[in-house]
């Protein structure tokens, strides 16, 4: 490889992104909302049609339904029909039988006793000498119900705690709710993806759900953090361009982080094997939608909310949960000097505000004390 362009201290990129000429993400927000719906609605339709057709909107695994699942490896040639014939002998012709790859078969049945299970394994070994048990799960119905409750409870508690945290850190419920709408979007996308692909939902799906929650909110916070930072600097810039500028400034980071995360978990999807593939699939979808929604949904919702409350003419600080719309920003520099980073946060003051000396326009950002 040769020394190519862009190397060294050329300062070639020292210019700044000019907001005026920058890509207007926020202005096109109807498109982004439409794109989100275009992704979510097919998932919802799949949920509905699967529900109507076989009362299983999602492909719930035995972890949630209770029952038995059995994974066998058979290196001789075989078909799903052969396995079904075998299961018929046990009166289990209605079992879910899936072949994965050339040598593995996955069998899911209603709850069986251990001796019935052993009988099936023994029969398979008698039928195919190469048959070997890879994995066997028996889950009682009581466990399935518990897991379902835990999943719902876990997601609910996680969401509430995160809303509280964001509300505190951004001094505005508005940011928290916008972040949560984006998260809801991501959950719908992921669930829709599982409905469309009919991938099995098992206990590891809990891990997927909470990764969505963690990543989606994390990514949104980084962008909101930038909005917060800019709000504390340029009190005269209207809200919408300010948000757009903030999104653009945080864009590279969002894309790069999503990129490295997808590269990493994509490797698991491709090379990690059947057992972990569904989880990896869920994680890849989570990261892509999480990255998308924080750029294209969360910030847009903030702006729409802002316009909406302006139209309604909500006075500053009125109404429960309304952020302090027009609040003179505190002297951030003094606050920062006083008590380190956390005290340096400005309230979520939105555009307008008291006239105050504008910082040097060419130096866009406050220079915090090192």
């Amino acid at each position: 490889m040769s020394m190519a362009t862009g190397v060294g201290p050329t300062g070639a990129g020292a210019g700044r992104v000019e907001p005026a000429r920058a890509f207007d993400i926020i202005g096109r927000r109807r498109w982004w909302y439409a794109l989100s719906l275009a992704v979510i609605i097919p998932g919802l339709i799949a949920l509905y049609t699967h529900h109507v057709r076989d009362h299983h909107a999602l492909n719930w695994g035995v972890d949630f339904t209770g029952g038995n699942s059995l994974e066998l490896q058979i290196t001789q040639p075989f078909t799903v029909g052969d396995v079904r014939t075998l299961m018929d002998r046990f009166g289990l012709g209605d079992a879910v039988i899936q072949k994965s790859g050339d040598t593995e078969v996955f069998i899911r049945t209603r709850p069986l006793t251990q001796s019935q299970m052993n009988g099936i394994i023994d029969a398979a070994k008698a039928r195919w000498t190469s048959a070997a048990m890879l994995r066997e799960d028996t889950v009682g119905p009581e466990i399935g119900a518990e897991l379902r409750n835990v999943a719902i409870l876990g997601v609910a508690i996680g969401l509430v705690l995160q809303v509280i945290f964001i509300s505190i850190r951004f001094r505005s419920v508005r940011f928290a709710i916008a972040a949560d709408i984006a998260l809801l979007h991501d959950l719908l996308v992921v669930i829709g993806a599982f409905a469309l692909s009919q991938r099995e939902i098992n206990s590891s799906f809990l891990a997927v759900l909470l990764t969505v929650a963690g990543y989606s909110i994390n990514d949104t916070i980084v962008i909101f953090d930038r909005i917060r930072e800019n709000l504390g600097l340029r009190t005269r810039e209207p809200f919408e361009p300010l948000v757009n500028r903030s999104v653009l400034e945080a864009l590279v980071r969002s894309i790069n982080t999503a990129m490295t995360a997808v590269l990493a978990i994509g490797a698991v999807y491709v090379f990690g094997g059947e057992t972990i593939r569904d989880v990896a699939f869920g994680l890849v979808v989570s990261i892509i939608t999480g990255g998308y929604s924080s750029i294209f949904n969360a910030s847009c919702i903030l702006v729409d909310w802002h316009h909406w409350s302006e139209r309604r003419g909500v006075p500053a600080g009125a109404g429960a949960g309304a952020p302090r719309r027009i609040e003179p920003p505190r002297d951030v520099r003094a606050a920062a000097d006083g008590a380190g980073p956390s005290a340096a946060e400005t309230p979520a003051a939105v555009s307008g505000g008291t006239p105050r000396p504008r910082p040097d326009v060419s130096r866009r950002r406050r220079r915090r004390r090192r």
């Binding site: 190397v7 990129g13 251990q114 929650a213 982080t257 490295t260 990690g272």
Partner: protein, 462 residues
């Protein structure tokens, strides 16, 4: 951060080295003499990776016995006895909630047999069935009705003379034809009772019943003194051995049934490890390449910090005795991708500072301190999610949560501290201009990333 660069570098090296020693244990103490050995991870592998059974038993109250702390402890003790007989290397038997017992059997070769053995109530009864001989497999429905193997019901009073609790020992024996049978010995008080009973009932049938199922129904040919006897029931060597184990351990005070059984065969476990390792290598290389191509020298430094991250995370997991599960590995690999996030945030802020025409040193300092707030806020939300997962989840899902939490904390440390040490060191050398080139990262790279950035990465190694 007031320490001089060489001191901070030394600190990072010491931490990395300590992490390596803990995680891979290349040195082992033999007595008091340190010996070198091939470095390899010393993490506990979950049952889904090494193969084995994870079995949850739930106890049910009976008319006689309630589910209490005491009765559950009794169940636990007996199950532990039985498991010990299985010869599993490191079984774990723990109570779970009020009425459940979790049995974990790593690396077990024959899980079906194990479940059969530990889940049996194993209530042995010697029943006086008077003039009736019942065929093997007959099942008592209640205390007066027995269902024969052909499905027909027969009225037989279940008159229990002695039970398994009266036994002091049970062993496998062989009859004169070499067929396995189970020999038993009564405790002394029961021995007397047994002798009296057999003396009075010669010619009648003494039926031997295990968990309400008839094993055999022999006729009493002569009085049996000495409190010894045998059970014959067409046993295989293995089934005779299992019955002896059950009888020695005694009956469970409460019947249990399996509510959850997750068994992974040794084949799949091995396969999962190989595949996840493969995926892990690919992930590290891809993430490393991406960072180096995009952020050039700074990216290479972040990659070095990512190496330190991997070492520290392994060491922490080893120290905590955490168990590595398959979802845990997925979490670990995902964390590799997300670990560089903190560095991405920092580099992006440094880049902005540089484009604002600040000096390199000032940009690095300001970029770092601005990024700390962002990193704190964004990671706390993920930590909240992971903490909930840890609190509510079970087994493998908890493994995922532990890996995620430790990964986040470690990545914050390596991005903020370790990468900074590397960057500061470079700033003191002639390579500083290559950090300066952060200012153009993503600009020239945006169009033709591999070519342009690849060149600079190559240059950085000069």
């Amino acid at each position: 951060m007031k320490l001089s660069n060489p001191v901070r570098l030394a600190g990072v090296i010491v931490i990395a080295l300590a992490a390596f020693l803990i995680a891979f244990q290349p040195i082992r103490l033999q007595g008091s003499v340190p010996v070198l050995q091939a470095p390899q991870p010393h993490l506990n592998l979950g049952l889904d990776l090494q193969g084995g059974s994870h079995i949850v038993l739930q106890a049910e109250p009976t008319a006689q016995t309630q589910v209490t702390n005491d009765s559950m402890d009794g169940v636990l003790k007996i199950i532990r006895n039985r498991v010990d007989q299985l010869g599993v290397a490191e079984p774990a038997i723990t109570r779970q909630g009020t009425n459940r017992i979790l049995v974990e059997l790593p690396g077990i070769q024959n899980p079906q047999r194990a479940i059969d053995l530990i889940g049996k109530t194993a209530l042995l009864e010697f029943v006086d069935t008077a003039a009736v001989s019942l065929p093997q497999g007959t099942q008592w429905k209640d205390s007066t009705t027995a269902v024969l193997p052909d499905g027909s019901a027969q009225h037989v009073a279940k008159n229990v003379i002695l039970t398994g609790a009266d036994l002091s020992d049970a062993q496998v024996q062989f009859d004169q034809y070499g067929r396995p049978q189970v020999g038993f010995t009564f405790k002394s008080s029961a021995a007397k009772k047994f002798e009296d009973y057999t003396t009075k009932n010669v010619g009648r049938y003494l039926t031997i019943v295990l968990d309400n199922r008839v094993i055999s129904s022999p006729v009493i040919q002569s009085p049996i003194p000495g409190g010894k006897g045998v059970i014959e029931g067409g046993f295989t060597l293995e089934s005779a051995r299992d019955l002896a184990v059950l009888l020695r351990g005694g009956a469970l005070p409460l019947p249990v049934h399996v509510v959850e059984n997750r068994t992974v065969g040794p084949l799949l476990g091995r396969d999962s490890i190989d595949r996840s390792l493969h995926a892990g290598y690919v992930a590290i290389v891809m993430v490393g390449l991406f960072m180096a191509l995009y952020y050039r020298l700074a990216g290479v430094l972040a990659d070095a910090a990512l190496g330190v991250y991997t070492l520290i995370l392994f060491a922490l997991l080893t120290l905590l005795g955490a168990t590595l599960t398959l979802p845990g590995i997925a979490g670990f690999i995902l964390s590799l991708g997300v670990a560089v996030d903190a560095n991405v945030i920092i580099f992006e802020k440094v880049k902005e500072e540089l484009r604002g025409h600040k000096t390199l040193r000032a940009s690095v300092a300001t970029g770092w301190s601005r990024a700390v707030v962002t990193i704190f806020d964004s990671n706390t939300t993920t930590l909240i999610g992971a903490a909930v997962l840890l609190w509510l989840g079970t087994g493998p899902v908890r493994g995922f949560a532990v890996t995620l939490i430790l990964g986040i904390l470690t990545s914050i440390f390596t991005a903020i501290v370790v990468t900074r040490v590397f960057v500061d060191l470079i700033l003191d050398t002639g390579l500083a201009p290559y950090i300066q080139s952060l200012a153009s990262a993503g600009r020239s790279a945006a169009g033709a990333a591999p070519v342009a950035a690849g060149g600079s990465a190559g240059g950085a190694e000069d």
